[in-house]
Amino acid sequence: MRKIILLLSFFLLINTSCEKDDFCIKNPITQSLIINFYDDSSKETLKNVKNLYVWAEGKTDSLYINQTINTITLPLNSIATETIYNFSKENVVNQFKITYTPEDEYVSRSCGFKVIFNDVTFSSDNTWIIDFTPETLTTIENQDEAHVQIYH
């Protein structure tokens, strides 16, 4: 009887200790939009944006506050089909609009579903931004390089 109890608890231990076998280590799961800022006069050179504030339209909290940088990473709203960002450089606001079709794709047990953004289109009202490229993307896939180059 003692042996059986011992064995039972051993199996229970196996059952409970095997509860979690995978952790979501793929990070990030849902890709963000990466934007690099370049110099308009020499389009190969990265150029810092001074006093940059970045916030989404309708939001009060900013993602970037008074920073001087040349690359930004922006999350996209997965429950809408467009995200409008306000880029403020030295108190001049430039609106940058991203439209897309979000799609849920299964990754794994621990990571769940990720959102992939298809048929991405960019537009800008060009106040301090002079130009950007590309205007469309089929999908936002990886985080290895910038998706959009902005010239200013």
Binding site: I4, L7, L8, F11, I14, N15, C18, D21, D22, C24, N27, P28, I29, T30, S32, A56, K59, D61, L63, P75, L76, N77, S78, I79, T83, D104, E105, Y106, V107, S108, R109, S110, C111, G112, F113, K114, V115
Partner: protein, 235 residues
């Protein structure tokens, strides 16, 4: 003091004594032992009581399993289990329910040398398992890894019917005859998935009869069964 040391020394003194030894040829009565202990052969049927007990403590699980085996040789049994299981798997981002029927077929080999007419077993076995089930994705939350925008939980259930799984398992267990023809069995199994049908844009996380499917396609099982032997013949 010396007395004790000397006495202790005597503890290590040993003597071999032979008194009952006799050469085999010289035995007068050299008849071999003619008593053969007969054991019952027949069909053994029962249920797995671990599953209803587990269902009592775990609200997300319910299951029922009947087990049976048939002795074909002294140490060899054909064994089968069939049952129904339903389990809700709650993960960080998904919640899904699998339910369906399964059957496992195979054999057990008893590696235990019984004493007299006792009928206990320490067995190893192999099973081929097959299950037919459906899996419902009850709800999921997209893993957006940002708190800047909200992530909504999609609660529209999405059911995939006609899922099937095939697997192999190795069984190891103990069986004891507690009353005449009444057995208690405790066994565990290690399972390797051979083939499983996956739902579209999701994954089969649990298969009835197999339990949770781990990332490597392996799984563990546990049985605690009560069985009754219907004896057909003695030999």
């Amino acid at each position: 003091m010396y007395k004790y040391i000397i006495s202790i020394c005597f503890l290590f003194v040993f003597v071999n004594g032979f008194s009952q030894e006799q050469k085999i040829d010289t035995l007068i009565n050299s008849k071999t032992d003619s008593i053969i202990y007969k054991t019952n052969y027949g069909l053994r049927l029962g249920i797995d009581i671990s599953k209803p007990i587990l269902a009592q403590f775990n609200g997300t699980y319910s299951g029922f399993e009947i087990v049976g085996d048939y002795r074909i040789k002294k140490n060899l049994y054909i064994a089968a289990e069939a049952g129904y299981e339903e389990e809700t798997t709650a993960e960080d981002y998904t919640n899904s329910t699998s339910k369906g029927n399964y059957i496992r077929l195979g054999f057990n080999y008893n590696a235990y040398q019984n004493w007299l007419d006792m009928n206990n077993e320490i067995f190893i076995g192999y099973r081929y398992g097959f299950s037919l089930f459906e899996q419902t994705l009850n709800s999921y939350t997209s893993n957006v890894n940002t708190s800047y925008f909200p992530a909504i939980t999609n609660t529209t259930p999405l059911t995939t019917m006609d899922l099937a799984a095939h697997w192999s398992e190795l069984v190891f267990g103990f069986r004891a005859e507690t009353f005449k023809n009444f057995f208690i069995t405790l066994s565990g199994s290690y399972k390797v998935m051979m083939q499983v049908k996956q739902p579209e844009n999701f994954k089969t996380l649990y298969s009835p009869g197999f339990n949770r499917i781990f990332e490597t396609g392996t799984g563990f099982g546990f049985n605690y069964t009560l069985t009754y032997l219907i004896p057909f013949k003695k030999k």
